[in-house]
């Protein structure tokens, strides 16, 4: 990741992945009945597919642009994701 410049903006090419889900705004791509999936017209299942693509994009950007922590509280593991987190 590039160090913050004068503007304070940090840029990573991975961020461009966040543009991909905008494809789901282009209605002519999916405004059709076939091919059907389990009896569901294309229009419907393709838009459901968009959810998975969105999750994939945000997850990749998260993993690839993880900031190194500036400081960490002593003794606290950083990736704890249990319900106790935040209690300090």
């Amino acid at each position: 990741m590039a160090p913050p410049g004068k503007t304070g903006l940090r840029w990573s090419p991975w961020n461009l992945l966040l543009v991909v889900p905008l494809l789901w705004l282009i209605t002519p791509v999916f405004n059709r009945t076939g091919p059907e999936l389990f009896g569901m017209p294309f229009y419907y299942w393709f838009q459901f597919l968009g959810i998975a693509v969105g999750v994939l994009c945000t997850s990749i950007v998260y993993v690839k642009t993880k900031d190194k922590p500036t400081t960490s509280a002593p003794g606290e593991p950083l990736d704890v994701d249990d319900l106790d987190e935040g209690a300090r």
């Binding site: 543009v19 789901w24 705004l25 405004n31 009945t33 017209p41 959810i51 969105g54 922590p69 209690a87």
Partner: protein, 547 residues
Amino acid sequence: MNELQWPELVIFALLFGLVTVLGFAAAKWRAGGTLDHLDEWGLGGRKFGSWITWFLIGGDLYTAYTFVAVPALMFSAGAMGFFALPYTVVVYPLVFMPLLRMWSVSRTHGYVTPADFVRGRYGSPTLALLIAITGIVATMPYIALQLVGLEAVLRTLGFNGAGIVGHLPLLIAFIILAVYTYQSGLRAPALIAFVKDILIYVVIVVAVIYLPIKLGGWTEIFGAADAKFEASPAKGDGTLLNGNNQLQYATLALGSALALFLYPHSLTGVLASRGRNVIKRNMSALPAYSLLLGLLALLGYMAIAAGTKPLVNQATGRPDTNTIVPNLFDQMFPSWFAGIAFAAIGIGALVPAAIMSIAAANLWTRNVYKEYVNKGATPAQEAKQAKLASLVVKFGAVAFILFIDPQFSIDLQLIGGVMILQTLPAVAIALYTRWFHVRGLVAGWVAGMAWGMWLLYTIPSADGSRAHFGGSALVLDKLSLFGWHPFAGSTMTIYVGFVSLIANLVVAVLVTVLARRLRWPNGLDKTSPADYHADEGDKKLRAIGAH
């Protein structure tokens, strides 16, 4: 009054009792030193981790009204109602980066509301006031709509009386909600959200497996929907979009996505989280609710296949399509399970209503009360003021439903979406650049707001029953720039919010250029570039709940 549905009612009452206990107990849940500070009452101590944030924001954004209204729209209009899906597909990638900056700068400076940020970024109380008022006005009808969702359930349970008696159960439910929100602040909806979301997931998963089997499969369901729209005289409906509503579909989805995190209650959920990684993880985890919403939307078609009829609301005397989903459950499920489903929707109304009233109260306190009424207010006075304001906001919403036609809230919510979009340049773009001049932002807000309201006023409803505020789909042919019709003859429709946002941006740019030429002063920026990257654990972060 109709026959009361006893088994459903008992289960509903038990679950409602459970969340009431939780709501009051929440005050002590991982409590900080004091509740007399907005960091604590209004933001739950700014320390929610990934799971709590997921339940809280999920419970906040996917409201009871959504659960009732989206399937109802599918039931009556078809494919157009599915816009909720692309809307929730694009929203998280879009807001991923800006939300991180908003969290960091707010955590560094102790901002509680979006208007606080604008105040710090531009040093302009006037601009901050505009943002705060827009937020409050846009949120109020949204709270009222939660009541519409709750009432749809209560009426299906048998409380379908006329006049004030018909509204009594709703009033009782809301008084209870108001009292525990007053006492526990944001911790109450955060804790209740666990119950709400788990119930909703169970109900929807069961519904989308059980109902299609009972109704003969998806082919059957889509076939029934197709047949219904073929037979209906209305032109805009169908199981696919047509040439006229595709642009509306896309711009409505995009406009709603841009608007979602400008709503003060969405930001409240974000600012209450512990750090940047919590937000990043949630951008990938929150779409689980979108899947839920999409499946829920299809319940509208299942209702068509099952031959469900909307209940006639005895307070207004009209059939209420919002009762479609509750009625479908009532008709297809054993009564104990219908009771769980109703409780899920009912409790689903309480969580967002609580968060919205807290967000509106925070705006009032920070950007009106502290700015104009009591400049020297201590944190304890702020917390007191916000608690009182949350009561006023909630009873204002109840009054909306009791004394004014619920249709009015639905209209206002439509207007609210267009309004909140007008804060995009001052709130979202300002996170990245201070290029816009403060006077440009004010001028843009005025232009976007005025034009948006005017356009909404001119739109008649699709069935021709009302001449004004009939929807958000503007026919391009009617679009006029000082008498010039750039798209004369076009029958395509577009989302009004999108059009007015463009007007807002154009005016903001023009006035900014002018202001720079004339060297007007542009306020003082209290934030520094590094503030936008601060994270949990940084040494220089403000202490939470400090003065």
